[in-house]
Amino acid sequence: MALSIADLPKEELFGQGHAGCGGCGAAVAGRQAMKALGSRTIITIPASCMATMGGSNLKTTWQIPFYHTLFEIAPAVSSGIRAALDAQGIEDVNVVSWAGDAGTADIGFQALTGAAERNEHMMHVCYDNEMYMNTGGQTGSQTPMFAKTSNMSKGKMIKKKNMLAIMEAHEIDYVASASIAYPLDLIAKFKKAAEKPGFSYIHILAPCHRGWQIPAEKTIEFARLAVESGLFELYEVDEGKRTRTVEPIFIPVQDYLLPQGRFKNLTQEAIQGIQAGVNRHYGRGE
């Protein structure tokens, strides 16, 4: 039976009183994920907006154990937490490391690939806003081609590294993409991941309106356009079985790209190239 919004717990384990910007995509992702994970969860978050917005000094918005880790260690720390819980015979706790695109794909990749290879009983979540927003919006490996950032004013001329494919290659229990514009799909994926005995990876596209240069109230809308255009595919690989969970309606990619300030200088040629890439991926005619 499909999940409905009415089935979701009313309890808010993250998000009431966080210090993020209004319209923060990462905060929405956190709130949605916690609806699936519940209170018996320990979360580790490395240096990122998500870590700093979760608490400062003696205050926190987290209603679960939350540890703001060093930048590149969250999956390793979580591996240790799981080992300790196992040693103490505590079985019913979700162990989650939750990082931005830098803490996942770049500076954090070593600890992530290590934990995935060991098939640790935990999940790693990447909330991907496609640039280093906590330091002002610099380019990283998850920044898409052509996007302008604070340190590449002419745009990045290299493709985005495909983290989902890399994690799929680890042959872990569960890999999924998710979007904050599709909360029920996201929540269902977190529930599946939480049931796995080994390692799960969930990659959430979580727009940052500041970095993407879109209106704050349009965060969710752009997350949806990314999926509708086919640029961000929602799927899962559940113990090797690949399933697309949301079918795109194939709005033109330019409807997603051009309204974003970071893609302001995109040429028609570039747009056509991106559209052709989407068409090829889904086996559609030109």
Partner: protein, 381 residues
Amino acid sequence: MSTTLLTGSEAAAYGAKLARIEVLAYYPITPAFPAMERISKFIDDGDLNTRFVRVESDHSALAAALGASLAGSRTFTVTNSQGLLYMTEVVYHTAGLRQPVVMAVANRALSAPHSRFPEQGDAISQGASGWIHLFCENNQEVLDNMLQAFKIAETVRLPVMVNYEGYIQSHTLEEVEIPNQEKIDQFLPLTRVRTLDVENPQAVNTVASPEFYMDYKFRQNEAMEQALTVIGSVSREYAQEFGRDWSGLIDTYQMEDAEHAFVAMGSMISDARIVVDELRSQGQKVGLVKVRAWRPFPAEALRQALKKVQLITIGDKNIVYGLGGALGTEVRSALYGQDVRINSYILGLGGRDVTTVEIKKVLELSEKTEKQATASEWFGL
């Protein structure tokens, strides 16, 4: 209790086993790896009920140990040299989070140039990290210090490094008495503190503003000062239970009427005891001060131990570039205002031999040196 031949690595491994560590994380490195392999063998043979996190790096090794400690388990790791430097970020972080992780360090010289040989420079590089440092003079002390390290760490809530030199100690067999497990269980009951606990959710390491940060640091340093007392009391308690007294922060040998004192730490100490005996038999009033706890630095204990001597000779198996040997610098600082001649020497870097012969030569050289031209002179170039 039983006596057997153990390397320093094996002594560290037996220490971890007797402490009943719950979580082990390490990344192989030379010369620390035999300690790692020995503990893994205890686990494989069913002699130790410990979860092993087979991490992909030294950095993640301490991160995993830290995570396990935050979740309330007694945890241990082992490393040296480049591994220790690679995990340095986590070393400082672990101390700031006040987690009682214990780490054995098989001291080895740092690159460049590449060296796999003994020296204390790796540990010295961590002198400001907030970890308690114990240095061991022989393999028996490696085992005994491992057990005391957990007790000290869990009492003051600070991590502890147990230092022994690569090869000289890590790969050399000595007679070691292995204490009885039941007695160790009484000496070292597990004090479980779950910082990350779903029954009692807390936010850990939230951003600290200038109104808070400095006060955390004050408390962290206060714990280090508390360790000055605790290291002594744990050492006394261990001596009462197991009959071996490692004398707390420092140990003194033939210091009652000594005019000339040799100050050092680590493997040099066991050789220096022989040198002192020999020189004493020739009528020279020489004594030895062993720095067992390098952090917290035992300044007051050293002032007391060295107040009657006329000459102090310090041996440093490390170099702090542009300053001198760490121990030499710190002993001078501790004795500020005391009217005494101090000569300190850099020696034994990167595995260059320091035997009884070299120690004797250093002491002779020091006797002849009225005033050193620099803070530390190099011996044995």
